[in-house]
Symmetry: C2
């Protein structure tokens, strides 16, 4: 992280340690990241932007994902957040360098924390990564893992059906089990001992994934690892909010209507959200 | 159809029977409609707009679908098309009345032709309709069927997993068969004799759907019925292009990058497309 963002964040009169953290995602799945962030940073207020009018990002091209991610970040910065968390794996994979360069604010993604955790947990350095088509195509996890340990062997698989299966509510359905089996079988045969769940929706399938992968494979939940990484980075930047009487609030903003968001939100986040607000970007 | 659009279409110097037909869809599925249009209107040129940057529409709210559909139609009108075909069931379901009112050009959707065909083919007037969440929620098929015969009984089911399964290429996979079975079982138990495939992707699953529904259920393919309807309507409006030496050309425009579109296009349309062009709306 260069120094620039930090200097800007604390020199700007409106931005302080009391400012909220901004989090964005292509839709609703990023609430799994918000949930983990709220566990480790209970006193922080958060503004969550879900781009539900253009969801998903995981099937779109890099240029389009970067354009959307810039608009999302701009929106959060205008709301005076002290840092931006890119909860979406696809946006982290393609847009993080552009966001860091274009915006004068700390920006954190989910890929680096996931890559670090995978290496910390793997014993045989045979690591599986699953995600959307765009995340896998980006090779972002491969790059971040190999940059830290070039002895690692990485086995990837795009799993485009898992997001729709979660959104259909089939998180313990036999069809979903068959799909996971088909997706994971080839990498399990290659003897991976660690599997990165490289998409915000996948934590909701942990039970089924664990039943297919078996006890010898450690699952890396990118929401959990991202939350611990944000805690660490905000600490280094002196941007952590200290304890106070009440827990922080979570303010959701969405680009499509609020009704379906509120229907689905409870699946992804156990806890209180303020009422969602519909917003327009750009 | 009011008279206004017809008068405007032929009084506008740039628009004539030789002008292309415009077709739009949320993404790539509308090519099934283009294929059927090209069969019945082989001499017509066509401009196809796939809004691949914002696909799908079927999970979004009515307001958002209407806004996107207006932008799509505006784009085609600026390309001097003589008529607009809304190939997307969800956009037809929510946006057709707004498009007809806002734009001075003939606009045809897929719902009315599908509803008419279902009634023409059903003997027991027990009709099933499958589609995206948004199409089913709109009740557009129910309205158009009941407006023509209030004795009909209609059984609906949103099938949100079928589009991702088609796009994953699992059109003859056992998982897809299980999903179709689960979706159709309740309406088959209600003794339907006709099933409307109310989404552009579903014609690619005809074989599996037929194997689950059985021989006694007639499938209504909204792409086929829409094409015959457009032929009939353009005939009434004196907007049909007569035979010429060469077949008409199909010009695809997409809002996301052209690569993935061209990868997938062959699944949906057997025939020649001109090279796809990336465009921006609004």
């Amino acid at each position: 992280m260069p120094n620039k963002p930090f200097i800007r964040a604390i020199s700007e009169p409106e931005i302080s340690v009391r400012s909220p953290i901004g989090i964005f995602d292509s839709g609703i799945g990023g609430l799994t990241v918000v949930q983990e962030l709220h566990k480790v940073l209970p006193y922080e207020d958060m503004i969550y932007l879900g781009d539900t009018a253009r969801v998903p990002y995981g099937t779109k091209s890099p240029e389009t994902v970067v354009r959307f991610a810039c608009e999302d970040t701009q929106f959060l910065i205008e709301r005076r957040v002290k840092a931006v968390v890119v909860a979406c794996n696809t946006a982290s994979a393609w847009a993080l360098p552009v966001l860091e360069q274009r915006f004068q604010i700390p920006v954190f993604g989910v890929i680096i924390p996931g890559a670090r955790a995978a290496l910390a947990r793997s014993k045989n350095l045979r690591i599986g990564v699953i995600g959307t088509n765009a995340t896998i195509k980006s090779q972002a996890y491969n790059r971040e893992i190999l940059a830290r340990n070039d002895q690692a062997q990485i086995f990837v698989r795009p799993c485009p059906l898992l997001v729709p299966l979660v959104e259909e509510g089939w998180t313990s359905h036999s069809v979903t089990l068959s799909v996971i089996h088909e997706y994971l079988e080839p990498m399990l045969r290659r003897n991976i001992d660690t599997l990165v769940l490289g998409c915000t929706h996948y934590p909701l399938l942990k039970k089924l994934i664990r039943s297919v992968a078996g006890k010898n494979v450690t699952l890396v939940d990118s929401a959990e690892t991202c939350a611990r990484y944000v805690l660490e980075r905000l600490g280094h930047l002196n941007l952590l909010r200290g304890p106070r009487k009440y827990e922080g609030k979570i303010y959701p903003c969405v680009t499509d209507d609020t009704e379906r968001f509120e229907e689905l939100a409870a699946k992804f986040l156990k806890g209180n959200l303020e009422p969602a607000v519909r917003v327009q970007l750009g």
